[in-house]
């Protein structure tokens, strides 16, 4: 039964793989620069590597927003996000898994009566906008740079074709790694506080923790999505919606991959902090919206090409619609799961851990009553400690 709850995460992972592989290998496959099998294999391997090795950063951010503390609750949170994504996709509205999962977590917070960390939420929402602007800026800069280099260097057409092919494969693999690292939190992040796996010692060389196994499972689900359904999406996205030349596609994927990496790398965050620089928040962002940002960046550099500002409006609408829809589904889903199926969707006693190492009473408040007797010399004070209250303030746990 415990493992059955993970099905919703696996489903969301499959949907993510099916829809988002197009963002990293779409141009290469649609333009017939790279064969689908090659792209799918590379994408799967690097998504799994990214998820297992680099997925912790964004997961911690989602955990701050709301720690779903019961497995049935996590199941419903993920299922609601998946359903919201599915429904909005059916309605042909732009939707992001990252935005849907945030709405689901907020729905859980509301149901559980748990407070939402507003600064974390604000940071996440700001990051969505920042990611698009950053991708557009990076794509515009990279495009200008490559155009200038190509004008100065006389690269032959067929050699350039071979280099572009190599570039698309390299940035595609990098993009898949970044996608796995950034978006695994959407798929398996809510299961982390209730991870059902035990640590596994692998040949005495390293330990595969429960969280690693969870991310591995999510990564495999994404990979299955890539192999089973992404070809169709790639053909649609690559040929109908975002037809780009292989070189422009290379720039867009490179910019998107860099931004996904920036928003998920703990190593980079540590390096920035160590050098006194402001750290980039580790937030799951939408790879599809970053791709659109990249295309807008190139369109701005190519003067005369119009930018469809309506598309930006649709993206902004998606920011509102996806979380609201996912939140509403989560709230009602949790209600049904709890009251109809009798599942514990919220662990109420989770704040007092039974196995906590030590419990000490909170310290008494400092003395606050000072009485000065009549005729007392100046400077003399008598402190009378306040009596301990009958009901102790909340106990605190000492780790």
């Amino acid at each position: 039964m415990i493992y059955l709850y993970l099905v919703s995460g696996i489903f969301l992972g499959w949907a993510l793989g099916a829809n988002h592989a197009a963002n990293v290998f779409g141009t290469a496959v649609a333009a017939k620069m790279v064969r689908f099998k090659t792209a799918a294999t590379l994408c799967s391997v690097f998504v799994i590597l990214g998820a297992v090795l680099g997925g912790a950063g964004t997961t911690a951010t989602l955990d701050k927003l709301g720690a779903v503390n019961a497995l049935p609750g996590a199941f419903m949170v993920t299922l609601a996000a998946a359903l919201a994504v599915y429904w909005m996709t059916k309605l042909k509205l732009p939707v992001s898994t990252s935005q849907a999962i945030i709405g689901s977590i907020l729905g859980w917070n509301l149901f559980a009566g748990s407070a939402t960390d507003i600064p974390s939420l604000a940071r996440i929402v700001l990051s969505w906008g920042a990611a698009i602007v950053l991708t557009a800026t990076l794509a515009a800069a990279l495009y200008s740079l490559f155009r200038a280099v190509l004008k100065r260097t006389r690269v032959r057409l067929l050699v350039l074709d071979a280099y572009t092919r190599a570039g698309l494969i390299i940035v595609g693999a990098f993009g898949a790694y970044s996608l796995g690292a950034n978006n695994i939190a959407n798929v398996m992040g809510v299961f982390v506080p209730v991870v059902p796996f035990r640590n596994i010692e692998v040949a005495g060389m390293f330990t595969l923790t429960g969280v690693h196994q969870l991310f591995l499972l999510g990564g495999i689900a994404i990979a299955v999505g890539v192999f089973t359904y992404s070809h169709k999406v790639i053909q649609t996205v690559g040929n109908d919606l975002l037809k780009l030349s292989p070189l422009a596609g290379f720039i867009v994927v490179l910019a998107t991959s860099l931004v996904l990496f920036l928003f998920s790398s703990r190593g980079l965050e540590g390096w920035l902090l160590a050098h006194g620089l402001p750290a980039i928040p580790l937030v799951p962002i939408s790879s599809s919206q970053s791709v659109i940002g990249g295309i807008i960046g190139i369109a701005i550099v190519r003067r005369g090409r119009t930018v469809r500002y309506r598309m930006l409006g649709e993206i902004a609408l998606g920011w509102l619609a996806a979380p609201v829809l996912a939140g509403v589904i989560t709230f009602f889903g949790l209600f049904v799961l709890q009251n109809v199926f009798g599942q514990e969707v919220v662990r109420r006693a989770a704040t007092v851990a039974p196995a906590a190492p030590a419990v000490v009473p909170a310290p008494l408040p400092p003395p606050r009553t000072t009485i000065l007797p009549a005729g007392a010399p100046p400077g003399l004070t008598i402190d009378i400690p306040r009596a301990a209250p009958d009901v102790r303030p909340a106990e605190r746990t000492v780790p």
């Binding site: 490559f146 006389r154 071979a162």
Partner: protein
Amino acid sequence: MSIIHLKQSKIVQAQIDEFLDTISQASLAFRNGIKEYLDGEIGHFEGTIGEMARMENRADELRHSIETQLYKHSLIPEIRGDVLGLLENMDTVINAEKKTLLQFSVEMPVIPAAFGKDYLALADVSVSAAEELVTAVRAFFHDFNMVTNSLHKVYFHEKEADKISDRLKRRIFSSKLDLSHKIHLRYFALHVEDISDHAEDVADRLGISTIKRGF
């Protein structure tokens, strides 16, 4: 690095270069052939036709091989159709040159000495259009930024060919020759002029491909 196909790219590039060399050599041979015919060196002229046929066969072989390689290894997929169309149309230039020389050989038109100079000038300017076309197509594969530099020269030579042809035809029809002779001479002026028209058609295609390929 079979995924990248760098080795195949270099092989195809070498074949494209050889194809363009062949077209260029055939144009020079065409010019020589016309001169030999006008000079009455029929033996040499027939030899040039044989040489021209060999070059045309070689160009066909190269074009088929390039086509196969481009599809087999999925090279330059986004402009493959344009490139193949370009090479096929280049082939029409060499075909037109060979066909014109063959017509001279079969019909043996009697060209009065007064018009010989004009025919040679027409052949020169038509061959120049074809030569500039080869330079433009070579730039398309080697140095993309130089394509437009050669393209406008193709158009210039084509217009020159039109002017010379027009002047030649007026002179022919204002002469005292028989009407049948006049029509025969006009027919050959048209054929020589056709070379530059073919070059212009390919240049149009190349211009569109250049815009499409723009980064």
